[in-house]
Symmetry: C2
Subunit: 266 residues, 2 copies
């Protein structure tokens, strides 16, 4: 009761720099992933290529077995892609646990403008996950994941479109299910942090403006397509836009005023 | 004269899905990288770990030998990090060409809301680069790259702070220089694209609102730090914010009206 679930700390996911900013809490990490519009997914393309491969993908965490699970509970990561893409072919052919992936999401919440370039920073939230990917073959789970992912782009959109997908649509879409092995997050909020040597130097403080510029994503006014036949923009769209704009802006502006931890109060 | 430089197409960077959206032009790719506030950098942590590693990093492309080089010319990617971080240790120990990296940046410019989940999309810009990383050891080049990266966070910030960095600051900061081997970009702009079977179905078109929601990053009003002693927000900061907000919003709103290529005009 009240226990916070955390990912195990392995070498691969342990944060060594600015440790006080690190989090291993499932809730914090899953919330960063699920509020990101794009995930970067990295995998090894095979022994003949020295470089890791990376793809921007749309994905979302959830539990098919326990659909009501909260962000702070164990979840799988579902990624959406095209049937013949390289990552899907590699996952299809992978043996053992599945295709090893690294999934990352980051967003900037503010520019931290301090006295020296060295103490400049961002307010930001970032998360990484490691896990093994397999193709979802169960049709009910696949449909559930497609709905989950569509509704992550715009809340409640699925039921307001032509569904279910037909056979051609189902077979051209592939969903990867990533069983998560570990993860970590890093969150920086607060204001400017400078060293005593600069703060006590009047020549510097008189000349250099210090502060934070909040940064947030904005959703603009919906532009109907030339073929659209619904006269008014539906309420679920306008309220989604209003909610997201308020949430994003509030987060960035509130983050400025968070008290910095002792480690950074020079 | 007038020739467009392009990256070579290798297996690792060739786009196979929606090929008409792909670009190999140095100018387009470098411009996506350099306008991104965060890059995701992937590398192999070594044979004992099955998962690629990934880090959010700040970086910028430029040419130390030809500082006036444009985006469409051959450039190196400079990445900023901490002296004892894992990626820096791996790069320091790497033999041969350097540490193989994949660098990615993506941004969403709009939500494409069409009749079916299957034809939903984003307007977006994404780029990946492959290359070999080495630590910058030349002090002049390192200082040049630090200035380049600081000014990418906020134009002209470097000269308005306490510079140059002192010895401790120089030695705690490491700059990676990535020699680029190949790269590719993918750009989606335009409006909604639906299949004839749905466009001709009145039951669907009467019920489903279709259109685009522009998405863009906004920089808010600067919040001075409690210790700031410069009474007015300097002009180089206010004009940066105004320019970026106009650029981001204009791009997202203009992208909506780009004519879709024939491949997508169902």
């Amino acid at each position: 009761m009240g226990r916070t679930l955390t990912y195990p700390k392995r070498d691969a996911n342990t944060v060594n720099r600015y440790k006080h900013r690190a989090t291993y809490d499932l809730g914090a990490i899953h919330s960063i992933i699920n509020s990101s519009q794009v995930l970067h997914v990295s995998f090894s393309p095979g022994p003949s290529d020295p470089f890791p491969a990376m793809l921007p993908m749309i994905g979302q965490m959830g539990s098919f077995d326990y659909p009501s699970a909260g962000f702070d509970e164990p979840l799988d990561c579902y990624l959406h892609g095209y049937v013949s893409s390289r990552i899907m072919n590699l996952a299809r052919k992978s043996e053992g646990d599945g295709l090893p992936l690294c999934i990352a999401a980051s967003r900037v919440d503010g520019l931290i403008l301090s006295l020296t370039p060295n103490s400049h920073s961002y307010n930001y939230r970032s998360a990484i996950l490691h896990g093994y990917a397999r193709l979802v073959t169960d049709e009910a789970e696949k449909l559930w994941a497609m709905k989950l992912i569509t509704n992550s782009v715009l809340a409640d959109r699925w039921d307001h479109t032509r569904v279910p997908p037909d056979n051609a649509e189902m077979s051209s879409t592939v969903i990867l299910k990533v069983r998560i092995v570990d993860g970590s997050g890093k969150i920086r909020d607060g204001g400017v942090s400078d060293e005593r040597k600069d703060k006590s130097n009047d020549d510097v403080t008189k000349r250099v403006w210090t502060g934070v510029v909040p940064v947030y994503e904005t959703f603009g006014d919906p532009v109907p397509s030339p073929e659209n036949k619904v006269s008014e923009v539906p309420e679920y769209i306008t309220s989604f836009i209003a909610n997201m704009n308020k949430r994003n802006r509030d987060y960035a502006e509130t983050a400025v005023n968070v008290t910095l931890p002792a480690e950074e109060q020079h």
